[in-house]
Symmetry: C2
Subunit: 340 residues, 2 copies
């Protein structure tokens, strides 16, 4: 059993040609049913299993798409992945899931490996460190179709599927304002990423609409990990005036802040109303439950995959004129952390 059986083994056993075996296994009409039956039986008997390396090499097609996310453990990304897998499997594609862990060098390596393995296309949401695009431009020049979802870069000719981060930021902030907040802190992420710039822009727009002056010291930038949230909370409390609201660009940092506030005796939501972003499951369970912005992850995955597969199907020449940015709506989930 050690050495894997090939179509040549089957061919030899039946004294026929390997090409006939190949066609039979692919159910080609060029092989008679009788022969197909014999081949299938023998293949079964020998425990034959197609070597996709050889097949894909010859066909110059892998029927595989690569997916790169910052972390698979984030609920939002794992929902996107579910949407991707569903759509891809239905279309006969396999999916390779990779996580950059928010590191640019890992993202570079992953892109390299996916290309070397000749995936037919790539869906990606860039890492927080991604401030150089060489690897992505390389992929573009290479002719491998790819598409951004959620976290994108400005690269000409590349489509993306996004949510309306501006609106999300606006909704979150206005919600706090309507709940009586006057001085609203904001946790943002790396400014290289459009999603964070846009959430911040939404925040500013809401302030502006309600004639609340923008104060730069209220906007804190970090990697939005849990302890970044705690530190941000500390910073906000150290300001010479009272901060009474917080819009965090993700749930994790919001929770870090919430824990810090709890520890310091700052009551949420009474003294500090909080809104997060992403609707991680944890945000519905923490006490008080966290108001947040829900993003349709599964749907993003579905749409992104559909677009990518279309692009893969198209002739290379036809690609230029189908760049498209799809923007999906997010929705505010009102919970206890913001109800004064």
């Amino acid at each position: 059993m050690e050495n894997k059986t090939t179509i040549h083994d089957i061919a030899k056993a039946l004294k026929i040609d390997a090409s006939t075996v190949s066609r039979a296994l692919n159910n080609s009409p060029r092989v008679s049913q009788k022969t197909k039956d014999r081949i299938l039986a023998k293949a079964n008997e020998l425990g034959y299993q197609r070597n996709l390396l050889a097949s894909n090499l010859r066909k110059n097609k892998t029927n595989t798409i690569g997916v790169i996310v910052p972390r698979i453990s984030r609920h939002f990304f794992s929902s996107v992945i579910s949407g991707i897998e569903e759509t891809a499997y239905d279309a006969g594609y396999n999916v390779i899931i990779c996580q950059s862990l928010e590191q640019l060098d890992r993202e570079r390596n992953i892109v390299e490996t996916l290309l070397a393995n000749r995936v037919d296309g790539v869906l990606l949401s860039v890492s927080m460190e991604t401030d150089e695009y060489d690897h992505l431009l390389n992929m573009k020049n290479n002719g491998t179709p790819f598409l951004f979802f959620d976290r994108h870069c400005e690269i000409e000719g590349i489509s993306s599927v996004l949510i309306d981060d501006f609106q999300g930021g606006f909704d979150a902030t206005e919600h706090l304002i309507l709940n009586g907040c006057k001085n609203i802190g904001h946790f943002s992420g790396p400014q290289e990423l459009a999603i964070y710039r846009n959430r911040t822009a939404g925040y500013r727009k809401a302030l502006e609409k309600h004639k609340i002056p923008y104060r730069p010291e209220l906007v804190l930038r970090s990697s939005l990990m849990e302890n970044d949230g705690a530190e941000g909370a500390k910073t906000l409390l150290s300001l010479p005036y009272k901060v009474d609201g917080l819009f965090s660009a993700n749930d994790i940092a919001a929770i870090g802040a919430m824990k810090y506030f709890k520890n310091e005796g700052v009551k949420v939501p009474e003294n500090m109303a909080i809104v997060g972003f992403s609707n991680e499951p944890i945000s519905g369970v923490i006490d008080p439950s966290l108001t947040t912005i829900d993003q349709p992850g599964f749907q993003i995955g579905q749409i992104a995959t559909k677009l990518l597969l279309e692009e893969i199907g198209k002739a290379p020449s036809a690609k230029a004129n189908m760049v498209k940015t799809t923007i999906l709506k997010s929705s505010l989930i009102e919970r206890d952390s913001s109800r004064k």
Copy 2:
């Protein structure tokens, strides 16, 4: 830029043989430095990128391991994956992550695909539905090394890296007993899986040690999803005597139960002490925080990968006598849900 450049393109451009190009790119001592430099420069110029399909086919080695988990979104599994990736990358291996979503047919497909892609080995934690092992036996006969972690099956000759579920179940249950619980409910999973049988056995052992009679109606089997927990909670409340403790074989079901109890006005931990299993991040954040059993996921991933890579390195004949079951300790994390 459309058609990818190959070593033949480089060879032609430099009027040398493709074999020399190949050797140069692999830094073989058989090629002079001068030629290597010329080749590298040209490769760069043409944007050459090795075709791993061809390379792996020829070498009959992919330097890739497949990982199959029930769900990537479970914290425990994503920690295991981190451990796997770290160890694998350090050894020059790539990792393909797949999720079975607890479905046997998906698990079968994944195994099939990984084998067809000729991964060098597989690490897997079986789905809850896995009560037939045909696909695994097939993989074994096929000669592909694999190894179970956490959720394993009884297949001769296959190693596993597990945690001590019996001890975990025992600790959880004894902890409840020592906190004064008299009638302890238990949520278990599919009995096909040893982890759940063992956790239940630990539960029974703890009862026995403390001379508490075992009551079969207190043991509820399900898929341990959140709503299974809620339904289990309902069942426990409907019993003719008062249940005052619950050991759930995972955190998710424990949380489902906790929410149900909260809704029904059953106070946790006063009227109902609860212990979960796995230490999902959510369990530290829910109110009251959930006592649970922590499993060293990252370490499991590291060890499992190390063992798998060893097995991959060995000659096939040497494999038989190195079957090994590694059992790691779990630890009780005491939180509020069990402090009476």
